[in-house]
């Protein structure tokens, strides 16, 4: 009986003290009440405007009316969705829910494409990797998405901040010229100027890192990769640069997404490295110029005991070909090209 009257539960490792039924019923009751209150308030708002409006022919529907409709509708949507979710979680086990979701997904895919034979759940899709043929080898790999994000962010921030600083500076100077100096604004320009200096420096550093070294083209002989098989890799480095060292590696990353408070975070760690090519300037000349790009033709064999790629909702195992190098008088660079490793018995 004590578990019924306990108001607060304690977290004991992965489970909570108290009876889970009390929590589930309370949660379902809360969202059910939210849904009903949404329906009642929406009905009230709409009917009061339509049937009891003071206007002669058409009701006056303004901004406030639509705000109330949106608020009431959000109550209905949130309440109904959470109520159904809570009831399904209470009535069905996680395994049964997973089976139902998988079945619905398969059915949806079958209806959408008319074929489910090519669908391999929990393995990354090959379509994005094999749609670009290479010049020397079968496929040209696409660079990891998001590598240009810092450049884009720094340019946007720098432009916006400098524009704001310029406007404020003009206003401050104008006030001084008129003989009504605004000293608060004038002093405020100093920290704003410091931020402007550092943001501009950040932009130029990122730009230099991205554009100083020419593009990298990576081609591979076959996809997907399979354990215990040999592959050829062709890397072409464009631009004008003299490298101190140039390294190509196949790296396995684990990615985990988790909730921390109200934030959703993703952590990524490298777990395995398979060297493909490691050159330094003492062994051979590592020079790229616009007429003669640096070309590397490598062959590598994958080990038999490597983990395959995996794509879950919250966890993933990702393989990437990572090209790293250090150019004299430039910051070192690192570019990655995702690939997919299949388990041996799938293909």
């Amino acid at each position: 009986m004590a578990k019924w009257v306990r108001l607060w539960g304690k977290k004991r490792g992965t489970r909570m003290s108290g009876w889970w039924v009390v929590g589930s019923v309370s949660e379902a009751a809360f969202f059910g009440a939210l849904f009903i209150s949404g329906i009642v308030s929406l009905t009230n708002v709409v009917s009061s405007q339509v049937f009891w409006s003071e206007s002669t022919f058409l009701p006056t529907i303004g901004f406030g009316f639509w705000l109330l409709v949106i608020a009431a509708s959000s109550f209905i949507v949130i309440g109904l969705t959470a109520f159904i979710l809570q009831v399904s979680q209470t009535l069905a086990s996680p395994e049964q829910r997973s089976v139902l979701v998988d079945r619905a997904k398969r059915e949806h895919q079958r209806r959408a494409s008319g074929d489910e034979a090519n669908n391999l759940p929990n393995l990354p899709s090959l379509r994005a990797l094999t749609d670009s043929p290479g010049v020397k080898l079968a496929y040209r790999l696409a660079i990891q998405r998001g590598e240009t994000t810092p450049l884009l962010l720094s340019s946007l921030f720098s432009v916006a901040w400098n524009a704001m600083l310029a406007v404020l500076a003009v206003i401050a100077v104008e006030n001084h010229l008129r003989g009504h100096p605004d000293w608060f604004l004038t002093v405020l320009l100093v920290p704003f100027g410091i931020v402007s200096f550092f943001s501009t420096r950040w932009f130029f550093r990122t730009f230099r890192r991205q554009s100083g070294i020419g593009p990298t083209a990576v081609e591979i002989s076959a996809l997907p990769l399979l354990p215990n098989q040999s592959y050829r890799l062709y890397v072409c480095q464009y631009g004008r640069a003299t490298f101190a060292w140039y390294r190509i590696t196949l790296v396995c990353f684990e990615e985990s997404t988790y909730q921390q408070g109200t934030d959703i975070r993703t952590e990524r760690v490298p777990t395995m490295r398979i060297p493909i090519c490691d050159s330094n300037c003492e062994e051979k000349s590592l020079v790229a110029d616009p007429e003669n790009p640096l070309e590397m033709d490598c062959q590598f064999r994958l080990p038999s005991d490597m983990m395959h790629s995996f794509q879950g909702r919250h966890n993933a195992i990702v393989w990437k070909i990572v090209v790293e190098g250090e150019v004299k008088k430039w910051p070192s660079f690192c570019r990655s090209f995702p690939v997919v490793v299949f388990p041996p018995d799938v293909v």
């Binding site: 996680p94 929990n122 393995l123 388990p343 018995d345």
Partner: protein, 150 residues
């Protein structure tokens, strides 16, 4: 020479609790293969039985062969085999008698133990009793031999 004494629990179960443990319903589950490591496309053979249960106490039983992730990220789950056994199906034979289930294992995901995450395969039984209680039994096994010594 050090004298090492066995560690006994500091508290004994009370008589009432030990009787309750002996009389509470339970699920017995065991793999029929001798080793816990199985290869993809191999047949997983296991058996289960219900102990200290009368037919009117049982509502239904769920049998799953599944994988789940453990670690820093939120858990993912995939079900390879799922069977929901009703009371009528269960009571066709005596409940204490072992029931065999076999399934051909898929090619992936292979069992894995990494730094941030683990992929763990197991057979899981959930017995739902008529009074609303739920009893779970789990038997882990390895698919593939990436992270265990062969």
């Amino acid at each position: 020479m050090a004298v090492v004494l066995p560690k006994f629990p500091s508290r004994r179960l009370s008589t009432r609790r030990s009787i309750a443990v002996r009389t509470e319903p339970a699920v017995g589950l065991r793999l029929r293969s001798l080793q816990q490591g199985l290869e993809p496309a191999e047949t997983l053979d296991f058996e289960y039985c219900l102990k200290r249960v009368t037919p009117d106490m049982v509502d239904r039983l769920e049998v799953s062969v599944m994988w789940c992730t453990e670690g820093k990220g939120s858990d993912d789950l995939g079900v390879h085999l799922f069977e929901s056994v009703t009371r009528e199906q269960l009571t066709e034979r005596p409940l204490g008698q072992p029931r065999r289930v076999s399934t051909v294992l898929p090619a992936y995901p292979l069992s894995y133990e990494g730094r941030l995450m683990k992929i763990r395969w197991c057979v899981r039984l959930r017995l739902y009793l008529s009074d609303g209680r739920e009893i779970t039994a789990e038997q882990p096994f390895y698919l593939g031999h990436l992270t265990i010594e062969v």
